[in-house]
Symmetry: C2
Subunit: 249 residues, 2 copies
DNA sequence: CAGCCCTGAATAGTCATATTATATGACCCC
DNA sequence: GGGGTCATATAATATGACTATTCAGGGCTG
């Protein structure tokens, strides 16, 4: 049985989670104009056939993620997307399920390219033996040759999470865990394990990051992780072009 | 009547928000060990003297922010802090209210130093006339000499939000709005408006950012915003040292 | 004796209904 | 026309009942 739960994509069993996911996805898709009101409580209850309790808790969840704001007598209003918590595991999962268009991947990459080198540099600056050991173990796991796309993606995720931890900055760590979740999802389309050469290059790239961190070379660590990011982006681009090419035939 | 609502620090009127803030703050303070269970529903109801409905919605809110996870028969368990959504306006507000210790400010600064230059560079790359115009207007507002700490903080906030928007990256914009909120809170302790020279330097620093963005000089824009961040950090450090010195007397 | 399954109890999830609080817009008085 | 007041719509809160899930322990079976 595959352990998909880590991707936060496959669960959502309680009616609460399901409805939150549905409405959250619709909001992300722009089905409800910012500033306008969501359907009223009774309407939503009618639509989803649940009790008021559940419906209210769903709205509380959406409110907690910044999507909406409820006020007595006013209704539940959709907030400006600026306030939406994109850096929330659920929200990103919903967004990913909506489709990984180029635009979104570009935005994500831009954030990664700015944040992850900083995290790596901090890790190099504060390197602790336990952090380095953990990173080495992550690389060892990534190097295994019996990976499925899924298992490799999780190993990759673990590595970047470890970088976040090693940075010693709780905010960085928090972001890393969220950003990587989205990244892992993209591996469903194209993965290093599909090509041995790509796999080796990716593993070596990650090993180079650890080397730089271990010796405390901040700049080298930042450069190395940038390189890894770009290898990944390039792979995705190439895969997409191929897919488009095939589609045209 | 002061418009404090923008800082998300002063509201929290409904019993729901109040209790969520209390429990959220306690969680941030580490009052509940990760992996352990929160007090049971009946206990919390007893403690806060509210109905089950309210208590449950509070827990849904905390769950939505990644603090806890509820399961039937198991109870409500505190999640590992890695999963907590620090980049959430409410969570940051709670964290700020808990106190802006050096450790936290350092973490925040590290994130800003990596993210904001990237946002500025992107803005320079994609510069649109309307974005530049809005930034210019922000600088004009900041330059006013009749500022209170509060009003200057808001003008500064607007500027950095505008940078986020100008980056054309919704993820960047989303983060900017959250990070800046915490920053603004720090202005309560030390503000550029306390010293005319500081005020002028700060305004000029911001103007330089806009100049670079307008001419499309990515690197210059990134450098300029780094400088602004460092001026701010330096001011805070100096103020703190002074306060400590006074405390010793 | 070991392993499996069944059952019971604990706990959160869901439901239905009633009551309260609050913001809005209209209305009225000045 | 400005400002206060009131009716009303809507969400907020309260309450009590019932359901679903899952853990733990005991008993059955091999």
């Amino acid at each position: 049985m595959p352990r998909l739960s880590r991707l936060a994509l496959e669960r959502a069993r309680s009616s609460h989670d399901q409805i939150a996911a549905i409405l959250g996805t619709e909001l992300l898709r722009g089905a409800y104009a910012p500033g306008s009101n969501m359907p009223s409580e009774p309407e939503l209850i009618e639509r989803f056939q649940v009790s008021r309790t559940v419906m209210r808790e769903v709205m509380k969840t959406l409110a907690a993620k910044g999507f909406v704001i409820s006020k007595t007598r006013v209704g539940t209003r959709v907030r400006d997307p600026v306030y939406w918590n994109y850096f929330d595991a659920d929200v990103l999962a919903w967004r990913v399920r909506l489709g990984l268009d180029d635009e979104f991947m570009k935005s994500l990459t831009e954030v990664r390219r700015s944040l992850e080198p900083a995290a790596a540099a901090l890790a190099a600056q504060r390197r602790s033996p336990t952090d380095v050991a953990r990173l080495r173990e992550c690389v060892r796991q990534m190097a295994r040759t019996d990976h499925t796309r899924q298992s490799f993606a999780e190993a990759d995720l673990d590595f970047h999470l470890a970088i976040g931890s090693a940075s010693g900055n709780p905010l960085m760590r928090s972001m890393a865990s969220v950003i990587e979740t989205a990244l892992v999802a993209s591996f469903a389309h194209s993965s290093p394990v599909d090509d041995p050469a790509d796999h080796e290059a990716t593993v070596n790239g990650h090993a180079a990051i650890v080397d730089a961190i271990e010796t405390g070379e901040e700049q080298a660590a930042a450069d190395a992780i940038l390189k890894v990011i770009d290898i990944g982006v390039n792979r995705i681009d190439v895969t997409r072009k191929k897919q488009r090419g095939q589609a045209k035939k």
